[in-house]
């Protein structure tokens, strides 16, 4: 029974996230200024490329599809205000590496080339890379409240019940042994 429920949950989830992914692309990147609170459009495009290398799409959404850019953008006006300069410099550097090696901005090069640029960034500016890595993972695996982990996609990916089950104490006492 548990397996069946899992399959259903996963199918529903795939549909939901496909829709969510579309919403991200059409909602955030088409309007003027992208609707970002802090990021300039160009920086957002570079950041999207970086984040999606840190968490690429597979059967489950990529970082940006799950709202990680929204998470980072919002926090750059709130708790991570102190990291604004690091972001501005780090994204500029990523874009520069891309132009030097591949003749185009990071958003425009191929996925393989983006991966090479992000690897170079990790070596050349580990401070910024570690920061953006941590923030990307926070946005993806943290609470949906902050704009990332949209519809709790990462939690479902990990097999966690979402919304969580309630009242399990009684259930477990009856069961008395592991399932």
């Amino acid at each position: 029974m548990k397996g069946k429920r899992g399959i259903l949950a996963r199918r529903d989830f795939m549909i939901a996230t496909a829709a969510a992914g579309t919403a991200v692309l059409s909602g955030c990147f088409s309007s003027h200024n992208g609707g970002w609170e802090n990021l300039a459009d160009a920086d957002a495009a570079t950041l999207k490329a970086v984040c999606d290398q840190i968490i690429p799409a597979d059967g489950f959404p990529s970082a940006s599809e799950a709202g990680v850019l929204t998470y980072i953008d919002r926090q750059l006006t709130r708790h991570y205000r102190r990291h604004r300069k690091a972001y501005a410099a780090g994204l500029e550097q990523a874009d520069r590496i891309s132009r030097e090696h591949f003749g185009a901005g990071l958003e425009s090069v191929t996925t393989q080339q983006q991966m090479a640029v992000v690897s170079a960034l990790e070596t050349q500016n580990s401070g910024f890379f570690n920061l953006v890595r941590e923030h990307t993972l926070e946005g993806y695996y943290g609470s949906p409240r902050h704009g990332g982990n949209r519809d709790a996609v990462s939690w479902r990916m990990l097999g966690l019940d979402e919304p969580p089950l309630r009242g399990r104490a009684q259930y477990d006492l009856r069961k008395g042994s592991p399932s």
Binding site: Y141, L158, L160, P164, G176
Partner: protein
């Protein structure tokens, strides 16, 4: 302001108990708390902003604005810390203190923990000492804490703990899956696994219901109020006595003294930032190890030029917490069932008795596994980012068990809290400056504990294990902070006597983790509570003998 019998500073684990014991005994009490009173509806299950996982700030204080601390490392480099950063060594700032959002492991220390120097001798460079009280002195008060606060669990599986007159008032929660995997493995190794004692309702108790077993426990307030802290037990009792007034968002500035060197009251900043003076007969400082020391050091006067209680430069020394080590084991089947609170099984076979080591520590399975906690805890071959990291998260999240524990920390006199000469908080008071290091023998113990955790996980069927063992530079304090106002018989080597009374001021008491001579190989809260009950009983007795009335 109307004079009261006692001002208690800090409404945490100890302060709540002292306020209750004094007010129920008939003393008029003002309980000052720098933070607000949160309720279950403030639970907010936020993986990024709670009291344990704080990248977006502390859920239960202090706020990042206006509350800095400074640390100095071994090379002399200074750094200023925000309350939500690790180096701050934060606990909490709210009614209930750490007990609002703790994991609620409610351990008794073992008899040997009170006699460390006699048992092992003091390692070179350490300040290891015996407590001036014994386990037997404290036993009735451990029991009182277990029954009044409410502790569930079952020690019957272990032969290593001290004698007790009664079992815990509540049975343990039903085991989670990790318990069933780890228990037979421990037994095969000849160990004695048992159910962790926890200040959490497993059945209805004290007018509140049982744990609903969600995964957001340590770091969070309890949504169904099944976790037992001072905020939902002793503080409501204190208020119901009619003798206790709780003043929240009030920050103590200093203990005021008179010309004879006795305390006459407490100066504090009220919720609107105005300086107030509350006259009283007795002052009890229960602000947690770092802030209690800071308050005493900030309480300077003609008779106490270096701070009250600090005649021999002992206030702030011996700061300690716990050095956590252990291991993660990765399995080829689902070991995680997402049934909270998480921690379920422990062994105390290794707390004492290992040749060559001064003590040891309890080992238990991990207490919380939010997805964000796994990002840097994957098998060692996993990439740090990219598809490989995502796949490893998926593969490992439900298939690992972490076993770790609080290693007995060997105290040193130079791990300490002083006042920073330049940095001030938002009220203009000098902030705590934290310096010194963990005694190296602590790391020896921690390394052996990590190997033991690894062996337990391997016996349980882990395919690979990763050791969690480091040699952190700097002090460890954090939520288990203790030791800064050491209890002792010698006024030159300690700050308070066995009744938690400052040696040279007869109406000022420090009652919280500050007085711990050492911090045991267990979470310290139940010992903080037991000491609070014991010291309160003695204080009430002195009061009735009129020794404290002015």
């Amino acid at each position: 302001m109307k004079r009261v019998n006692a001002v208690v500073i800090g409404a945490g684990a100890a302060g709540g108990i002292v306020a209750k014991e004094l007010s129920v005994a008939g003393l008029s009490v003002v309980l000052l708390e720098r933070g607000p009173w949160y309720t279950a509806s403030d639970c907010r299950k936020d993986d990024l902003r709670n009291q344990r996982t704080t990248m977006l700030g502390n859920a239960f204080g202090p706020a990042d604005e206006g509350n800095p601390r400074v640390s100095v490392d071994a090379s002399g480099a200074m750094r200023t810390w925000l309350p939500s950063e690790g180096g701050y060594q934060n606990n909490a700032a709210c009614v209930g203190g750490g007990t609002l959002s703790y994991g609620a492991q409610a351990w008794r220390y073992m008899p040997q923990d009170f006699r460390m120097r006699s048992t092992y001798g003091a390692p070179a460079g350490s300040s290891l000492e015996d407590w001036p009280i014994t386990y037997d002195d404290l036993e009735p008060f451990y029991e009182k804490a277990e029954y009044e606060i409410g502790v569930s669990g079952d020690y019957s599986g272990t032969p290593f703990h001290g004698p007790r007159r009664h079992p815990l008032p509540m049975p343990p929660l039903a085991p989670n899956r990790e318990f069933y995997i780890l228990e037979p493995a421990a037994k095969r190794l000849g160990l004695h696994p048992f159910h962790i004692p926890m200040a959490r309702n497993s059945v209805p108790y004290n007018g509140r219901g049982p744990c609903m077993r969600c995964r957001w426990c340590v770091g969070f307030a309890c949504e169904v109020d099944a976790k037992n802290g001072s905020q939902n037990t002793v503080i409501p009792t204190a208020l119901a006595s009619g003798n206790c007034e709780l003043r929240t968002e009030c920050m103590a500035k200093e203990v005021l003294t008179d010309d004879r060197g006795r305390a006459r009251g407490v100066a504090y900043f009220d919720a609107s930032g105005h300086l107030q003076e509350q006259p009283c007969d007795v002052v009890v400082v229960s602000a947690c190890a770092i802030e209690s020391a800071r308050l005493l050091l900030n309480s300077k006067s003609r008779l106490f030029p270096n701070g009250i209680g600090n005649r021999y430069d002992m206030v702030g020394r011996n700061l300690q917490g716990h050095h956590y080590t252990g291991a993660v084991g990765f399995f080829d089947y689902d070991t995680y069932d997402d049934v909270g609170p998480g921690g379920s099984i422990a062994i105390s076979d290794y707390n004492h008795g290992t040749s060559g080591l001064c003590g040891g520590g309890m080992l238990a399975n991990e207490f919380i596994r939010l997805p964000i906690h796994m990002i840097d805890r994957l098998p060692s071959a996993s990439p740090r980012w990219g598809l490989g990291h995502k796949q490893a998260m998926r593969a490992a999240y439900k298939r690992n068990i972490q076993v770790f524990g609080p290693t007995q920390q060997i105290p040193t006199a130079d791990a300490r809290v002083t006042l920073d000469p330049t940095v001030r908080d938002k009220w203009g008071m000098p902030v705590a400056r934290i310096s010194g290091n963990v005694h190296p023998h602590t790391f020896d113990i921690g390394e052996v504990q990590a190997q033991r955790a690894q062996a337990w996980l391997k016996e349980a069927g882990a395919i690979t294990t990763v050791k969690l063992s480091n040699k952190a530079t700097g002090v460890s304090a954090g939520q288990h902070q203790a030791g800064t106002c050491r209890m002792g018989n010698d006024p030159k080597g300690s700050v308070v006597d066995r009744n938690c009374r400052i040696h040279d001021v007869d109406n000022v008491f420090v009652i919280d983790g500050s007085v711990h001579v050492n911090n045991g190989g267990f979470n310290p809260v139940l010992t903080i509570m037991a000491v609070a009950y014991m010291a309160s009983a003695s204080l009430v007795q002195s009061w009735k003998g009129t020794g404290l009335k002015s």
